[in-house]
Symmetry: C2
Subunit: 234 residues, 2 copies
């Protein structure tokens, strides 16, 4: 009870919200399970890329598509709140791409990705892929809660964002398979400690694989490409 | 209906979620209205700072506190999912500061800020302030939906994030009063178009005030400080 304005915090609403949220998540998990089977029937493994806005997901994808051209059959599902801009960038690389716009929602969910999988299949003669990238909405928090049916979850943090981000966004790191530090060509301009970022990420999730890339400059790209090429065999 | 895996998208869950979300937002709006009265009773105006993780909110605050020392009585409410790190940085400037950790939630809400206001009051002899900064959780999406009782809402986008961010996160820009482009000392290293960012932000919200800062280098800081000093008179 607040002495100044006499108000209460509405506990009832909170409880009700938690219940519905659980029901939503259960439905999402069920759809994610089906998506995973769906993706495997397409012959593919899927990667869910999660990061803040502007950490360089689309730029990394552009350079990745150049390097894997003719080596792996790739499809891309782009998630954004609004605009087709990311899909337009990927389309120029000549690979099948689907833009999902959430119309306000802060994350992709499994039902939406399910629609994306169908749209992607229609862009391939035999409906088959080796690797499907799902680029999530730029958000380092909410996407972590929603399994999309991916086989591999990658968290990206760029050097300009700061090396304190693993400790400040622990849930996202708990659920990830791989942590990619991007824009490492900019290390000299920023107070970013690779040691802090790596150590604190591993404290949250000791099984995390950690990679470092500077895509436009080609830094770390050989390791990144090898990692992607080995995913289907896992 | 999906031919491959035979699943449906769960429309029922979505409808129920929308209803509860509306109820939650209504309760939040009511608490925000009370917070605003509470803040005014403290003699203050409050600013809600919203941005992606790592756009430089805390760094801008540190430099702002240096410049306004002895000129305005300032309190700071820091929002994070985990850690006291931002509050620790602000505390070194000798101003009252409260760290709110959401324990997973992707945004501050009005009930949580209400607790923060009380905690802030206890750090001031007369409970009075001129200006209260509320630094939201790093997230360019979800905080936009939650009125905290602030008088001024500021959206920050840093140069490394890219000038396409206003168009890609329209809801956040619709509800803002001021758009601050941060880290402008880095313009020479990034493909960031000030013209694109400004034009597309104004297309979304023609009443938006736009400022540009590079806090550590002192760029644009005079305009930023003048803007803050004039807030209480509005």
């Amino acid at each position: 009870m607040c002495d100044t304005c006499g108000c209460h915090i509405n506990e009832h609403t909170d409880t009700k919200t938690v219940e519905v949220h659980e029901s939503l998540l259960a439905a999402n998990r069920e759809q994610a399970r089906k998506n995973r089977a769906h993706i495997e029937a397409m012959g593919a493994v899927a990667v869910n890329m999660i990061s803040s806005p502007g950490s360089g997901k689309t730029t990394l994808l552009e350079h990745t598509l150049d390097r894997l051209a003719g080596k792996m059959k790739i499809g891309v599902i782009e998630g954004d709140i609004e605009t087709e801009r990311d899909a337009d960038r990927i389309r120029k690389k000549g690979v099948p791409v689907v833009q999902l716009t959430t119309g306000g929602a802060c994350h992709l969910d499994a039902p939406l990705v399910h629609k994306g999988l169908h749209a992607l299949e229609h862009q391939s003669k035999d409906g088959k892929f080796d690797l499907i990238f799902i680029e999530n909405v730029g958000n380092l928090v909410c996407p972590a809660t929603f399994d999309l049916g991916e086989h591999e979850r990658i968290i990206l943090v760029s050097v300009p964002e700061g090396s304190d981000k693993p400790a400040k966004y622990p849930t996202t790191f708990h659920g990830a398979d791989t942590f990619v530090i991007t824009k490492i060509d900019l290390l000299k301009y920023f107070d970013f400690s690779l040691d802090e970022a790596r150590t604190e990420a591993l404290q949250l999730n000791s099984g995390l694989r950690i990679l470092q890339v500077g895509a436009p400059a080609g830094l770390g790209m050989d390791d990144w490409i090898t990692y992607l090429q080995e995913l289907p065999a896992r």
